[in-house]
Amino acid sequence: MIEKASVLIVDDEEMVITSVRAYLELETNFEVHGFTEPEQAVKFLESNLVDIAVSDYLMPRMSGIQFLTRAKQLQPEATRVLLTGHADKQSAIQAINEVSLYQYVEKPWENAQLLMIIQNGIERAQLLRELRATMSELSTAHSSLKDVQKKLLKAFL
């Protein structure tokens, strides 16, 4: 059902990316794009569609919330997940409100839980995109109907 899903992971720790990538490659056929520099991940998002963006919270220069805010501007349909190292509920709540976060996961993370969140997140993003595509199809159909209507009106009046 899920088609060539694309997952973006941002964490300033290379080890997190390597571990999550190894797990996802073993259990799924998702495309995994990992970045240790949030700035590079933003560049990637500017020209590549992803279904879900998973970001660390504490990173140098750009926090996870700042990154996910950029991600939301660039690809609003992509699901956003925060991976936090300390049980900092306060910042998670702030994030949920600010970047309409889908989920937050605490480190150390549980692979099965992370996988479920990622799978659901991908499905959600793909459904949202489909919905948007259908809606724009509908509105084109609607406007071409209007055109026909106009022509008919012109022809008969």
Binding site: E13, A22, P60, G85, P108
Partner: protein, 276 residues
């Protein structure tokens, strides 16, 4: 100190009072130490949870991969063997990650141990470059996001000292530097061998200390920080540890808008306490 001989009962009482005061001072130092670790805890927890997350995840992947390798080997055909090979490569890279992750955890734990150790009255030779590195591990989580730490380790000899006490001094000064820096900034740690001392300097790019505050910062209880953030004890205790306990010196220079540098000088050898 030459004292006029007190009547014995007064001498006893005085002795007892001194011992009580000493033990209170130790308790105060101890609880201050615990409080300063407590404040860094969120950062420390983050520093540890990241490698633990990796190790736990890798453990699962290694297990699954080896199961797959096993069945691929049982199949024995060319495709299966190629797949087994790829899995083994992944496993090897995860094992390398696990090693790094374990080292990261033990670095942090070593940093903590330097503090948790009971105050030893014993003087030992210590590598202060190593101790500073261990202490920086504790502040790393807290600083990570906004403060760049630059280090310049000089060739320094081992120093006879109470290592855990000096680590406490380093932590106090590093935490102050981190708290002083608003937003982004830099802390520079430098060590040098100078004559019969080791010179450690910790410089920050914070706002500097106001001229009217400069004479007060080493006084116990002086703080410009909010309740719950500052206690005003850090520098007073640090001064005592460096100067009274080790016969060294602790001073600073500060410029408004530029930053502050603390200088710690510790003699390489402790003078044998002249007794008798």
């Amino acid at each position: 100190m030459s004292q006029p001989s007190n009547p014995p009962e007064f001498a006893n009482e005085l002795e007892e009072l001194r011992a009580r005061a000493d033990s209170l001072a130790t308790q105060l130092a101890q609880s201050y130490k615990m409080a300063s670790i407590g404040r860094l805890l969120a950062g420390i927890v983050h520093e540890i949870n990241t490698p633990i997350g990796s190790i736990l995840s890798n453990n699962q992947v290694l297990y699954r991969s080896l199961e797959l390798v096993k069945s691929a080997l049982a199949n024995g055909d060319k495709d299966s063997l190629a797949k087994a090979n790829r899995l083994v490569e992944t496993c090897l890279s995860l094992i390398a990650i696990d090693k790094i992750a374990c080292e990261r955890i033990s670095d942090v734990v070593r940093g903590l141990k330097t503090f948790a150790r009971a105050e030893s009255s014993e003087v030992r030779k210590a590598d202060l470059n190593q101790q500073l590195q261990d202490t920086l591990k504790l502040t790393q989580g807290e600083f990570r996001q906004r403060i760049k730490v630059e280090t310049d380790w000089g060739q320094i000899p081992q120093v006879e000292c109470h290592g855990n006490m000096l680590s406490q001094v380093f932590l106090n000064i590093l935490v102050n530097a981190g708290q002083a820096i608003q937003g982004e900034g830099k802390i520079t740690v430098r060590t040098r061998h100078e004559g019969d001392s080791v010179h450690i300097s910790i410089a920050d790019t914070g706002p500097g200390i106001k001229p009217e505050d400069r004479p007060k910062i080493f006084a116990g209880g002086f703080t410009t920080k909010a309740v719950g953030v500052g206690t005003g004890l850090g520098l007073a205790l640090s001064k005592k540890i460096v100067e009274e306990t080790h016969g060294g010196s602790l001073h600073f220079e500060s410029e408004i808008g530029i930053g502050t540098t603390f200088h710690i000088l510790v003699p390489i050898e402790q003078k044998k306490k002249a007794e008798g």
